[in-house]
Symmetry: C3
Subunit: 222 residues, 3 copies
């Protein structure tokens, strides 16, 4: 039976898998070799959780002591390597899987931070970090500005999910219920962002500021 | 009354605020959305201290347990977002504030490392890291070579301040005095670097080395 | 006499030195000033080990408590700064030294992870991380995709060496023997990769995938 005790690992492993796929696809596009692909798979799938664990003092991190995280990441990398054409054709499904992974990670990350006694606000932020940390590291390793910092309610959706879990915990709601609510909210926000282009405002630049900013913008084609 | 006990947090919070402003300005220039701006504010203001805390084993880091760091960072990000034109016009004052922040962080970082029992040399280096770590991470996230590695006595000024605090500690000078001396030294060095272009030497390249280096240089317009 | 107890530090310090040289050379090529060069030396020589120590909970990391790591790194940076022409002419010897450093680090990193009770698979991966972490950070700080992710059996050689140490430990072979075997294997793989261009396969892209990947490729001239 699925209980809270085995629910968190299942969320975590599912999130790891879809994130690892996204890391592997990025690595293939940048022409990394099979090993680079596996490293990117592992990093994208696990660095959010590893960073959270380092910050709350849960060392060695679960991703290093529980072999299933490695297994799932390597599997995702190999699938992408051997069936890249297939995975690539799934672009839009991958985005949806990624939204599911983000929901899983944000919810599970917030819960773990609560268990380690962090304050509500910080638990919500660590939930968000768990969700976005892997993708940020993937982009940094590929020498790009992290997409999560610029696109489509990504970090906000993670923060919303993590906040719901934290608020639920404070109100005494059972974890299963608040996790489900948070996950659905996160997925819904991402879905609307992908489908309908929902996004956050950017700052209004003066003419001078726009001139300053223009040349640096050219460095990122996307 | 301001005592040593509440002096360190005040230095730290002041430094966090001015660094967060610099992170927010960089984020606005790169056209990140409001959320990316807040993330950059927090990272620039706090990652130096968080890294120091991870390295000396002070987990969870103060920036995650003391909500004021988050508050100050978010405030700096919002101010920059809504009054970017105003903040941008302050470019030179911001550089001076940044020098103040660097002084605060280097001094407070060295002191905390001493309290955790690190050796004098390492305490000085961790003070420097506390000062430059946030700005380095900001630049890495924006896919740039960290400015602190290439400009104007920045890291050196932080190291000088941290070293003074450490030497003062070894000589039994009261923390208030050595912190003040270190802060003034750091600010003074940065001021001279900004005003009079003081900088450190770069290595003499052979003609061959220069030819090798040229193409990579072109990648960074600044 | 050289025993296991003093053998690990010797491996570690030797690896630190050659890696620090590689960091300093990269910094000189990017025209960093003397301080940036020393920072890159320290980071390249020590961040693999520091990351490993953070992950296994060995804080403060050895590189911060044992002053010899700093000394060796600074020495490498100064040698490169003052005799860049000489070091640069050694390009191929430096690659060989780097292979020696990689062997040292992978072997010593795996051994330390075993001592801290990590599982065999994770100890092997942490050995690899110890070997490649410094170089990865060097490249990230220089805003490049880490070379270790794309080139010439680099990470694989480190993983092979670390795996031999772990397997030796499980079979009860003395550390000296398995360390030697691992080191020779790692060096041999790197030597063949450098001399004969051995490399790992990259994924087969569909025509569509190749078109997608092309523009991003142009950003990295190497």
């Amino acid at each position: 039976m699925i209980t809270v005790d085995n629910f968190v690992p299942i969320l975590d492993l599912g999130g790891t898998f879809v994130f690892a796929i996204s890391g592997a696809v990025a690595a293939v596009n940048r022409r990394l070799d099979i090993f680079g692909i596996l490293v990117l798979s592992f990093v994208t799938g696990n660095l959010g959780g590893i960073t959270r664990d380092l910050l709350i003092g849960a060392v060695p991190p679960a991703a290093l002591t529980d072999g299933r995280y490695l297994l799932v990441s390597v599997l995702a990398g190999l699938i992408t390597f051997f069936w890249y054409a297939g995975v690539d054709r799934l672009r839009s499904p991958v985005l949806l899987f990624d939204a599911v992974g983000l929901s899983f990670f944000a919810v599970a990350g917030a819960q773990k931070a609560i268990e380690f006694g962090l304050s509500p606000v910080m638990a919500a932020l660590l939930g968000m970090l768990t969700g976005i940390g892997g993708g940020m590291t993937r982009d940094v390793l590929l020498a790009e500005i992290p997409h999560v910092l610029r696109s489509d309610l990504y970090a906000v959706a993670a923060l919303a999910a993590a906040s719901l879990v934290v608020i639920g915990h404070m109100l005494g709601v059972s974890y299963g219920v608040s996790a489900l609510a948070g996950g659905v909210l996160c997925f819904g926000l991402r879905f609307m962002a992908i489908r309908h282009g929902w996004h956050l405002p950017i700052a209004h630049l003066s003419a001078q500021g726009r001139a300053d900013a223009a040349p640096t913008d050219e460095k990122e084609p996307r």
